[in-house]
């Protein structure tokens, strides 16, 4: 687990987030003042009906989409107050993404996909110097996820479950303080999904990273000690003792 920065206790801290879109002459408010703080090492399920604003919140928290108002602190760094390049660096080092549709690069092997965040982080010289170490770490992750025989396979040669495990390894290669997952088992059958979740929560326990999981799956939500419920762009329920922070 990464050490907290500037004295904060939170891996992710979302304050006063609002997001509105202009549709014709009307303004559509998707998020209406969201406050959410996730401490280091805490898995949080984000649930709610379709259109509640879960995915938009996820993208804003993951520094992919700019909010209309409010701030996002990732590991203590105010992400939307940075230059685009610095923000990209924070995304690379501090946030791990897992998507419903895996989003692996089809031209790269499983191992290369896992190494991609490291390639983005390093210049050619640095990468060459650290290559052996990085490859070892990536191979270790793949082996832990039962993919030691599939490292050279392209995504098209892997099953859905295998692809999601590669995506999981890719998200964890930098050992980020927070992992953001958008319906990670949404595209898998229940047995495969179960296997992936086992691995995900095993890793979470070992590495102690915070998680923000968007899901429709009640069983998955039940695995998390804290569930945040959204409706119409607001947080309407939070099983955390402190409520909506």
């Amino acid at each position: 687990m990464s050490a907290p920065a500037s004295g904060t206790r939170h891996a992710l801290e979302v304050r006063g987030i609002a997001k509105s879109f202009q549709v014709g002459s009307e303004t559509l408010d998707v998020l209406r003042g969201i406050d959410l703080a996730i401490p280091y090492g805490q898995p949080v399920a984000l649930v709610g009906s379709s259109g509640a604003g879960k995915s938009t919140l996820l993208h804003i928290a993951g520094l992919l989409e700019r909010p209309s108002a409010g701030s996002v602190r990732v590991d203590g760094v105010d992400g939307w107050n940075l230059s685009p390049d610095e923000r990209a660096k924070v995304r690379n080092r501090k946030v791990g993404f897992v998507f419903q549709f895996y989003h692996l690069l089809p031209e790269l092997s499983a191992l290369e996909n896992v190494l991609l965040p490291a390639m983005i982080a390093h210049s050619p010289g640095e990468y060459r110097a650290a290559r052996a170490q990085l490859t070892e770490a990536a191979l270790g992750l793949l082996a832990r996820f039962g993919l030691q025989a599939r490292t050279k396979h392209r995504p098209s040669q892997l099953s859905g479950g295998e692809r999601q495990r590669v995506a999981l390894a890719r998200a964890l290669i930098h050992d980020p303080p927070i992992l953001i997952a958008d319906e990670p088992t949404g595209n898998l059958d229940s047995a495969t999904g179960e296997r992936v979740l086992e691995l995900l929560f095993d890793e979470q326990r070992t590495r102690h990273f915070a998680m923000l999981l968007v899901t429709h799956d009640a069983k998955l939500a039940a695995r998390c000690p804290r569930t945040v419920t959204m409706r119409d762009g607001r947080i309407v329920g939070d099983t955390n003792g402190s409520g909506a922070a």
Partner: protein, 458 residues
């Protein structure tokens, strides 16, 4: 690191990129090859014309001057003034006339030969040039042209007996009672008439009679002393050399020279100044008519031809540069397709921390690899073709059964080519610039793509 890695991977994983690379290769290769050949043409022309025409040509017009004196019909006074100039390396008088050659006792039906003459169609009109051998050797390339035939074992029997005295009678010449006069015949003409050394040929010409004003025909029998070969098709098929006095005799001794060829020690440095000085001195000595058109440099005489080739070279260069534009456009089209296809990848890269600049560089690098592989292989191909153009053309002609380079209609036996390294470098740089400029448009579009939009696209 990912920019280099991904761009190379995208390049190699997608076969459509090959089309762009092949386009650049062909464009660069063709441009280098054609420009090398055009440069070779220009060199050959300049060299050939220098050799044939010498540096300066003095052609006195034998008409009365404004002071009613007439320039002399003998060259000696003129030669004396020209040779006195320290910048002059040599000067040679020539008598130039036109006529026809008829081989006596040839086995071939003469009409067949005349009607099938490749250069002049039906009428084999030949340029008759009378020379003084020793001075001609100083200013023109006749000695080399004679040696090309007599020193080659395959054609030695058609060569002259003695290069220092090319009009010397051939060995074992039967004396048939005809006064001996020698003739040297261009190799193509020699072959067309199926001549042999020692053959007698009748040279016919028409000359005006100064007394009656009527045109009368003259003819004399000459003995073939050998063939010469300059490699320039026009000269080798249209020219016969004679001793100047013998040719003067054929045209009735009305004139003993028509031009004087002058060779300078350094034409590039002294050409224009020497031309002007000689013109002035010859005018003062009343040896030319003095109206400004009798002393010329070889560039004056063939300037338009040289300018035309130079112009053609530039024109072809510009037209072939369009091939590079097409290649650049192909790269543009392929990359544009790739940006659309790779929307999702671009979104993933952004989510994983790639900057807009990084995405831009990745796509520009794909074009860079295209240009690098295409331009380098194009340069190798172009240089190789320029060097091996002659055997390549022979092979290609033999393979397709059609003579691509017709040696009869060009001035040279082999396709000339000279590689100019600066031109090669400019072409390669041009290909790079063109490809990268075209690639910049889709690359910028890729960088501007909203990563979220790209990720939602599934």
């Amino acid at each position: 690191m990912y920019k280099l890695f991904l761009s190379w991977r995208y390049l190699t994983a997608r076969r459509t990129n090959l089309i762009g690379i092949v386009g650049i290769t062909v464009g660069v290769g063709a441009l280098i090859m054609i420009l090398s050949i055009m440069t070779g043409f220009l060199d050959e022309h300049r060299a050939a014309i220098r050799g044939g025409l010498s540096d300066l040509v003095i052609t006195p017009i034998h008409l009365a001057r404004s002071d009613r004196s007439v320039p002399p019909r003998e060259p000696e006074a003129l030669l004396e003034i020209v040779r006195a100039d320290p910048r002059v390396a040599g000067a040679a008088p020539r008598l130039v006339w036109g006529g026809m050659i008829s081989p006596r006792g040839a086995q071939t039906d003469l009409s067949e030969v005349y009607y099938s003459h490749p250069e002049t169609g039906n009428v084999p009109v030949v340029q008759l040039i009378g020379i003084d051998v020793a001075s001609e050797y100083q200013v023109a390339n006749l000695r080399e042209a004679l040696a090309r035939v007599s020193s080659d074992p395959a054609s030695a029997r058609h060569g002259v007996r003695d290069l220092d005295d090319p009009f010397a009678a051939p060995r074992d010449l039967d004396d048939d009672g005809i006064a001996y006069r020698g003739i040297l015949v261009g190799k193509k003409l020699y072959d067309t008439f199926q001549l042999r050394v020692g053959d007698r040929v009748n040279v016919l010409t028409a000359v005006p009679d100064p007394r009656s004003g009527a045109v009368k025909s003259n003819n004399l029998i000459f003995t073939v002393c050998g063939a010469f070969k300059t490699g320039q098709s026009e000269i080798d098929s249209d020219i016969a050399y004679f001793d100047r006095r013998a040719l003067a005799e054929l045209i009735g001794n009305e004139r003993s020279f028509s031009t004087v060829l002058v060779k300078l020690h350094d034409f590039e440095r002294d050409g224009a100044a020497t031309r002007a000085d000689l013109e002035q001195r010859l005018d003062q000595a009343r040896l030319i008519r003095g109206e400004g058109d009798e002393v010329s440099t070889w560039e004056d005489l063939r300037g338009s031809l040289i300018a035309a080739i130079e112009n053609e070279r530039i024109l072809i260069g510009v037209m072939l540069a369009l091939v590079l534009l097409v290649a650049g456009f192909t790269v543009f089209a392929i990359l544009s397709m790739m940006v659309v296809e790779k929307r999702r990848d671009i979104g993933i890269l952004s989510a994983l921390g790639a900057t807009r600049g990084g995405v831009l560089s990745t796509f520009l690098l794909i074009a860079f690899w295209d240009a690098l592989v295409g331009a380098v292989s194009g340069a190798v191909l172009g240089v190789w073709l320029a060097v091996k153009i002659d055997p390549f053309e022979r092979w290609l002609s033999a393979t397709i059964g059609y003579q691509i380079w017709n040696r009869e209609i060009y001035l040279f036996d082999t396709i000339p080519s000279r590689i100019v390294p600066i031109a090669v470098a400019l072409i390669v740089l041009g290909a790079f610039a063109c490809t990268l400029l075209f690639a910049a448009i889709p690359a910028v579009r890729a960088a501007r793509l909203d990563p979220l939009e790209a990720l939602r696209y599934e």
